[in-house]
Assembly symmetry: C2
Homo-oligomer: 270 residues x 2
C-alpha cells in the first residue's frame, strides 16, 4: 500500500472547537522516507475554515486535493465546485467524495491492474458560515460518516496504537487544547510503537463559530513542549505501573487450579 | 476472518521466566460471542512445560491442537511426533509448523475457495529438559520467528492497542510477575478499545528451569485484583494527563505562522 499505512491523523470535535493533527512522514519505497504534508487548511476568515487530513496512497490523496483546489464541474448547476465555495459542510464532504470517485475513475482500474490498492481516507472538519461545526471521515468509495458527541474523535491511518489514550481522554466537553494534549499523547504512543509514523506533526485548532484558525503549527524535532510531554508521560506510566501491586495469582493458583485444570490436560479442543 | 481478529494473546520471555496470557472470546458470527480457550498448556513436571496461545480461524487452530495432541507421523523416524515427546523447543516449534501445514493440506484450499482466509498464528513458549527457555511465533505457512532479549515479548491477534504499554514496560530483566502486570495493563487497553476482546483472561507463569508451571489462572469478571488494576490505571492516566501543562502552541502560532503559512494557502499538493 503505497504510503498508506505510514500515516496517523486525528480529528477531534468537542463542544468548543475542532482539533486536527497529522504526522508528515510518507514512505513510498523501502528505504526512502520523506516528509509530506497531510494536513491541509482552507480558510476565508469569517466565512469558512476547513481542515483536511489525508491518509492512504499519496498519488490518490494528492490528486483529490488538486481537484478540491481547482474544482470539479457540477453538471446540475453548470458551475465549478471547489472546497472554497461550498454552501455547507455536508456539501463539502460530498465534494471530497466526488473528488475521490473522480480520481478512482481516472486512475483506479489501472492501479488495481498493477496490484496497487486504491486506498485513501480523508478527515474533513470545519465550519462554514450559517452552519454548524462538523467532522467527517470520507472513504475511498466517496461515502462518509460523521463524528457524534458520543465519540468526539476520528482517526485515520495507523490508528490502533494511539486509540486507548483517546478513549480514556476525549469527551464532548473536553476543552480543545486539552484535547490537543491528549492527541499529542496518542501521537507519542504511535510514534514509539511504529517507526513509520514520525515527526514533524502538523496541527490546527479552530474555535467554534470563529471561522478562523486560532492555532496552526508544526511540531518539529526537539520541540521543547513535545519532548517534555513525552518524557513526563514515560514517567507517569512507569510510576503508575510501579504503584500497582504485583498480581496475586501466584499464591492462589494452586488453590484455584481445579477451575482451570482443563488448561493443563492435553484434552482435545472444545 | 472467522474468529480471527477477535483474539489477543501475549507471550513474554524474561530473564527469570515465561509469562503467557490470552483472552478467551471468540466471535464466529455477528451476534454470537462465545468463550473459547486460546491458552493451552502441556506439562510433565521436571521434563517439559509448554504453553501455546492461538489466534486466527478457530477451525484451523483447533485442528492444529488436535494434531499436536494425537501426533503426526514422522517419515524419517517412523514414530509419531506429539508435542509431549519433542527433544527440544526448536523441534517443538517445527512440529507446530508441520501441524499448520497439515491442516492447510486438508482444509486450506477448500476454505480459500469459499472466500475464507486460512489464517492462524500460534505462540509457543516453554522449556524442555536439557534445553533453554524459548518463545516462538509460528505463522500459518508453518515458518516461525523467535523472541530475542531486545524485544522480550510477542503478541498475536489484535495486538496494536496494547503494544505501547508493553514497549514502555517490558525488558529482559523485568521480573515475571511484573511482566504479568504489564501484560494485564496491555489486556485492559485492548479490551477497552476493542469490544471483541474480553474477559476471561487465561494466564500462566513458568519460572526458568522449573519445568513446572508456577501459576495457572483464569481472570473472570469481577476479579478483585484485575478490577482494581483497571481502576487504578484509569486514575494514573487521568492524573498524569492533567499534570502535563496545556500545549503552548496557541499563543505562539501567530508568531510562527510564517513557517507553516503553506498550510493555509490552498496550494496544489507537493
Amino acid at each position: 500500500m503505497a504510503g498508506g499505512s505510514m500515516t496517523y491523523c486525528i480529528g477531534i470535535l468537542v463542544k468548543d472547537g475542532l482539533v486536527m493533527m497529522g504526522d508528515t512522514r510518507t514512505n513510498e519505497g523501502i528505504d526512502h522516507i520523506s516528509s509530506f504534508r497531510k494536513l491541509h487548511l482552507f480558510e476565508e476568515p469569517g466565512h469558512h475554515a476547513l481542515a483536511l487530513a489525508t491518509a492512504g496512497s499519496l498519488s490518490v490523496t494528492q490528486s483529490v486535493m488538486t481537484f478540491l483546489n481547482e474544482g470539479l464541474p457540477n453538471s446540475e448547476t453548470g458551475k465549478i465546485d471547489t472546497l472554497a465555495n461550498q454552501p455547507s459542510m455536508f456539501h463539502a464532504a460530498q465534494l471530497v467524495g466526488r473528488a475521490m470517485r473522480e480520481v478512482y475513475r481516472i486512475d483506479g482500474k489501472a492501479m488495481e491492474k498493477n496490484g496497487l490498492n486504491f486506498d485513501a481516507n480523508i478527515l474533513l472538519g470545519g465550519q462554514i458560515k450559517g452552519g454548524n461545526m462538523h467532522l467527517y471521515s470520507i472513504y475511498a468509495a466517496g461515502h462518509f460518516i460523521e463524528v457524534t458527541p458520543e465519540t468526539a474523535y476520528m482517526q485515520i491511518g495507523e490508528h490502533k496504537y494511539g486509540k486507548p489514550i483517546l478513549d480514556r481522554s476525549i469527551r464532548h466537553d473536553t476543552p480543545p487544547y486539552e484535547a490537543l494534549k491528549s492527541g499529542l499523547l496518542s501521537m507519542d504512543a504511535t510514534i514509539r510503537s511504529n517507526l513509520s509514523v514520525g515527526l514533524p506533526i502538523d496541527l490546527a485548532v479552530l474555535p467554534r463559530d470563529a471561522m478562523r484558525f486560532e492555532t496552526i503549527d508544526r511540531i518539529e524535532d526537539e520541540d521543547p513542549y513535545f519532548e517534555d510531554l513525552c518524557k513526563q508521560w514515560a514517567k507517569v506510566i512507569q510510576k503508575g505501573r510501579d504503584a500497582i501491586p504485583t498480581p496475586p495469582y501466584g499464591g492462589k493458583a494452586t488453590k484455584r487450579l481445579s477451575n482451570v485444570v482443563n488448561l493443563l490436560r492435553p484434552t482435545p479442543p472444545e
